[in-house]
Symmetry: C2
Subunit: 343 residues, 2 copies
């Protein structure tokens, strides 16, 4: 299992990413990791961190001198920077030298790069970004999270098929419940896109439970939620922003009184467990679904745990043949021709 | 100042609403409140609550035997139930017997009812729902929250003009900063609707600061955020759902240890202040903007404080002539003709 890891993608430079790589190598002896980045720079970091012994034997460096920054447009960046970490990573997958790519960098560019190097899965018109979210019960997979801002109903159906296949393999769910994000539970509620997508989903063989609302996202009564990438990305960012703001307000209130400060000392273990339960780092990154290969995008703020878990998710995707399952589902449900005709 | 108050709209029946009415009457001696609902039923509740003295003299009942339930479609409900609380309320406004309507019932039906009885403001093609949200700094007004699920760019511009006029009057802001909710800060980021709306907003005389992201909603660096009603409603519901789920998870963690339970006793004052800071009840309901009159929709879960504050918001909207300000802004910025042509 060889995972190519973008060492330059994170907001805090290569160190947390290399730490995550080492944690992954320790966790599973069958893993090898190929760090992507400027060789000289990475060798310096590795020397400083003092990596040695059996771990060093499973940790490689592939020279990739260019870095795609967050302000570049995906398609242009991928065209101009052929030696960027992400492009080099997917070239390794294309040529069979790696099984998957993990990047905490530009998610749009990572997807564009994957499509350029590996192509799409047969029958998929729009690959996208899926991710697991914590809920009161087991995690829910939401797709799309921002790759496709203007969607057609057919795309939402494909997201549902892809995310169902993925979560059923990754979390071993027999028949994942699929919900369509809307603003009312009844079939007639929602915008034009959602109303048409509802009909397609209801007519499919998926375990479609109907519309779900924003309130349902964190309840855990559905396994897959589909939406267009605009709505998905805003839901994700609103959630992150609210969590941050709430913690900041609560901290301000606690610091106002000695009594509350003492209370916080007693309660902080519970806070820590709570945070761990909702921490994106535990979920390890978001699979790109619909590409002919395995790619995982991680949060720019990823710490070593998040990177380690992203590597584990990538390995899982490869081992459990998620892509094969997607292609089979599409073929079984007769989506192949219509999607290809649409491209 | 006479406010018609839908006594049957809340999830918990008339009592919290009547309590809210009494609180409002106590707070401001110039208020009169007209409770809307089945007369006999309301008189029973009033007798049980023992309302008397000067308050009773400013609290009236208007018989409205029908109630619109949450499962009815707005347009049909408004057509069929002419004697519903909401329709009777806006009829009071139409005939000059009340200055505004407040309802914690079906927000879509409330808007449909307002449009039917009062019509739209000159130049407005799509009235909608705006609301204040708590942030780390001063509140932000978001529009639309669900009345208009499929919008054109022109509608988003009108939302921006209406919400700007409203917040500048209500919170006395000289030049409210307006942001467009999108998935990237750059002008080119977003879906087709947002890209076109960006151009209209940039060309307007509003204090447009550009795109804002989901993360920015709770930061307080913008005064007005515009989006279509589908995205707005999902952002609102995702926020509510996350807040509920997080509190439930935190409670579970706290109950696991005696130490944490003791800590909670010490810290709960801070929690209470925090909750008060983010409580929708403090914001008192969402103005319907674009109708030729004043209507406020409140959360179905509204307690007495929320209802009292909604009455205050309604009175403020009337006193500060928010609608007049909207019409003037539209005329000044040349929106009148184009909007009317579109209807």
């Amino acid at each position: 299992m060889r995972i190519a890891l973008d060492a330059m993608g994170g907001d805090s430079g290569p160190d947390p990413i290399i730490d995550g790589a080492l944690a992954a190598l320790r966790e599973n002896r069958s893993y090898e990791i190929i760090l992507l980045g400027p060789e000289e720079l990475l060798q310096q970091h590795l020397a400083t961190l003092g990596v040695s012994g059996s771990l060093a034997g499973r940790l490689h460096v592939e020279h990739a001198p260019e870095i795609i920054t967050m302000h570049e447009t995906p398609v242009e960046a991928v065209r101009r920077k052929k030696n960027s970490t992400i492009m080099v990573g997917f070239e390794l997958v294309r040529s069979g030298r790696a099984d998957a790519v993990v990047s905490a960098g530009h998610s749009g560019a990572t997807l564009a790069s994957a499509v350029k190097k590996l192509g799409r899965l047969k029958g998929i018109s729009r690959p996208g970004i899926a991710s697991l979210f914590p809920t009161l019960k087991q995690p829910v997979m939401i797709m799309d999270l921002g790759a496709n801002v203007d969607c057609r109903p057919q795309h939402l159906l494909q997201f549902a098929i892809m995310a169902s296949s993925c979560i059923s393999k990754i979390l071993q769910l027999a028949n994942p419940r699929v919900g369509l994000l809307s603003i009312g539970e009844e079939a007639g509620k929602g915008n034009a896109l959602v109303k048409e997508a509802h009909e397609l989903l209801a007519a499919s063989s998926l375990n479609f439970i109907g519309n779900v609302e924003g309130r349902d996202v964190y309840q855990g009564n559905v396994d897959v939620i589909v939406c267009d990438g605009f709505v998905g990305n805003i839901s994700l960012k609103v959630s992150e922003g609210l969590a941050d703001a709430a913690m900041q307000m609560l901290r301000t209130e606690i610091l106002k009184s000695l009594r509350a400060k003492i209370g916080y000392l007693l309660i902080r273990g519970a806070f820590k467990n709570f945070r761990k339960r909702v921490d994106y780092a535990e979920y390890g990154g978001a699979p790109l679904l619909g590409i002919n290969g395995v790619g995982i995008v991680s949060h720019g703020k990823s710490n070593a745990t998040a990177i380690k878990n992203a590597v584990v998710v990538a390995a899982n995707m490869v081992e459990k043949k998620v892509n094969q399952s997607i292609v089979e589902s599409l073929a079984k449900w007769g989506q192949t021709e219509s999607a290809e005709a649409e491209v």
